[in-house]
């Protein structure tokens, strides 16, 4: 079947309407199911695993301070704030109590499993199993001290979960080299990529609309506070108070990038500009608010989902 075969006939209005509907539905089918290369999913897998390995190395020195019951959040104080009973390190401790394993050993073992599964995910070795282990151990660490989580952890959780289900090991992986995964374009790769793309659109739109509901993002105060409040402040931006229009324009730019994301990331004409603007936004957050891991994860997500070509047979990775 070709595109011409479903071009709208011209005889009558009802037929034209039906044909337009058929055309739209055909486009929707193609959008969701046209077989795709797994390259974007592989870039997502490699990028996310790389950033999370760096994050794990940074958190490692404080591992026991953060996750142990004799750490900063002692005893069961953290449990008082839990809303849902979900898998956490406390479960493992109770489960392995008959073996007499100390808490410190269990925390270290959880960290080791997490890092090894991240390495396997990075290499694309037993990719889905590695993704499953990564997601589960990451979730356990998140739930154990829920209050410590921030945006980087939330997005890592979301996209590790996706990597269990999408065929990210079908490209740039050991599974591919060992022929455990097929390089053929698949409908699963397309559908998985679409879900990831739409999820990112929802996330950016929601983030932009939540910001737009507050006055601070319109008058520049949000930028001023992000750069000047202790906890975020990296450089002295007090001069900004004498040029408030700069802060105001930056605030509007953030709103434009985030609210515009679901509309301007899709058209070919604006896609590269929006990918670049989104990455620039996150590089800015990384540099000026010292949120490097968050900035790296968010950049990886947009680049993988929208800047890497999923079209079968394309030699270039760039969309």
């Amino acid at each position: 079947m070709s595109t011409e075969a479903i071009s709208p006939p011209r005889e009558s209005a009802p037929r034209q309407g039906t044909s337009l509907l058929a055309r739209a539905l055909r486009a929707a089918t193609c959008f969701a199911f046209a077989p795709a290369s797994a390259a974007p999913l592989a870039v997502l897998r490699i990028g996310l695993a790389s950033v999370l390995l760096v994050q794990a190395a940074l958190v490692y020195p404080a591992l026991h301070e953060i996750y142990s019951q004799s750490g900063i959040l002692q005893g069961s104080l953290g449990d008082a704030f839990l809303q849902l009973d979900l898998p956490r390190i406390g479960w493992l401790i109770a489960l392995l109590a008959p073996l007499g394993l100390p808490e410190a050993t269990i925390i270290t073992a959880t960290g080791v499993v997490y890092v090894l599964s991240l390495a396997a995910l990075l290499a694309g070795w037993r990719t889905r199993l590695a993704a499953g282990l990564c997601w589960f151990t990451h979730l356990m660490l998140m739930v154990t001290v829920d209050i410590t989580n921030y945006g980087a952890d939330i997005f890592a959780n979301i996209f590790l979960f996706y990597l269990i289900w999408v065929p990210s090991g079908a490209a740039l992986s050991l599974d591919r080299r060992r022929r455990r995964a097929s390089a053929e374009p698949t409908t699963a790769a397309r559908l998985g990529l679409r879900v990831i793309q739409i999820h990112l659109c929802i996330a950016y739109l929601a983030s932009g609309l939540h910001k737009a509901a507050g006055e601070q993002w319109w008058n520049g105060e949000a930028i001023w506070r992000s750069l000047m409040l202790p906890g975020y402040r990296q450089l002295d931006f007090s001069w900004l108070a004498y040029h408030p229009w700069i802060a105001m324009i930056l605030g509007w730019t953030v709103l434009l990038i985030e609210i515009g994301y679901p509309f301007l990331i899709w058209p070919r004409l604006t896609r590269r500009l929006w990918v670049a603007a989104t990455v620039a936004l996150h590089v800015g957050i990384a540099v000026f608010m010292s949120l490097g891991i968050f900035g790296a994860i968010m950049s990886v997500l947009t680049v993988a989902a929208f800047a890497v070509s999923a079209e079968p047979g394309r030699r270039s990775l760039v969309a």
């Binding site: 079947m1 595109t3 058929a22 539905l25 055909r26 089918t29 193609c30 199911f33 046209a34 077989p35 940074l58 958190v59 020195p61 404080a62 301070e65 953060i66 900063i72 959040l73 002692q74 104080l77 704030f81 849902l84 979900l86 410590t148 989580n149 939330i154 959780n157 979301i158 979960f161 409908t187 559908l191 879900v195 999820h199 929802i202 996330a203 950016y204 929601a206 983030s207 939540h210 910001k211 509901a213 507050g214 006055e215 601070q216 105060e221 949000a222 001023w224 506070r225 000047m228 409040l229 202790p230 906890g231 900004l240 108070a241 899709w266 070919r268 490097g292 891991i293 929208f306 079209e311």
Partner: protein, 209 residues
């Protein structure tokens, strides 16, 4: 990728068409493949529906058993996030500090995890936010005492530790231009003394009962 024009449909997509009622008939297709694709689509749409509920900040935990099941799924998959980072306003983060007084009376101030790198420090600082999630004095006191205990462990010779939780009052850009400077608002303060030292002080002549 998105935004491309209509290309000729590959065979398995054409096979899927009639079952979806999207494309004119005349094509067969393997029922198993179609079922799998349709199941995949249904799951994807349901998942994105949960993602949308999360973004709209719909509270599923307060609902019935089905809503609670969906809430569990949403938490496990991360679909419960509302993405309201730095929104609608950028608030000051609580800053915890500990004033450690040693036997000579010298005072030094430090944080909860001195020397931690930025990624670890973000997590430690976030733990401090627990303070703001409760009004119960007993819980607040327990949190402060447990953190003071960590500081005493680092400084075994300390006479006392004063825990302070403060917020930075950052003036607006206009106020800053008019000369107002950032200041600190005290949210909570508590002094902790090792029990042995407290007992000794009480037993000393003229000590408080």
């Amino acid at each position: 990728m998105g935004g491309r024009g209509l290309a000729p449909l590959p065979r398995d997509v054409v096979a899927l068409g009639p079952s979806l009622g999207l494309i004119g008939g005349g094509h067969g297709g393997r029922p198993t493949g179609r079922r799998r694709a349709l199941s995949g689509l249904a799951v994807a749409l349901a998942h994105l529906g949960v993602v949308t509920l999360g973004a709209l900040q719909v509270d599923l935990l307060g609902g019935g058993s089905l809503a609670r099941t969906v809430a569990y799924y949403a938490v496990l998959s991360g679909a419960d996030s509302s993405y309201d980072f730095f929104a609608p306003r950028v608030d000051a983060r609580p800053e915890a500090s500990f004033q450690v007084t040693d036997a000579t009376g010298a005072v030094r101030t430090e944080g909860l995890a001195p020397g931690a790198n930025r990624e670890a420090a973000i997590r430690v600082d976030n733990i401090v936010r627990l303070f703001l999630l409760t009004d119960e004095e007993k819980v607040r006191r327990s949190l402060a005492a447990s953190w003071a205990g960590k500081v005493f462990a680092r400084h075994p010779g300390a006479e006392s530790v004063v825990f302070r939780l403060e917020f930075c009052d950052l003036p607006s850009m206009r106020e800053y231009r008019e000369g107002k400077q950032p200041s600190w608002d005290l949210e909570y303060q508590a002094k902790f003394v090792p029990q042995a030292k407290l007992r000794a002080a009480r037993e000393a002549p003229g000590g408080t009962p």
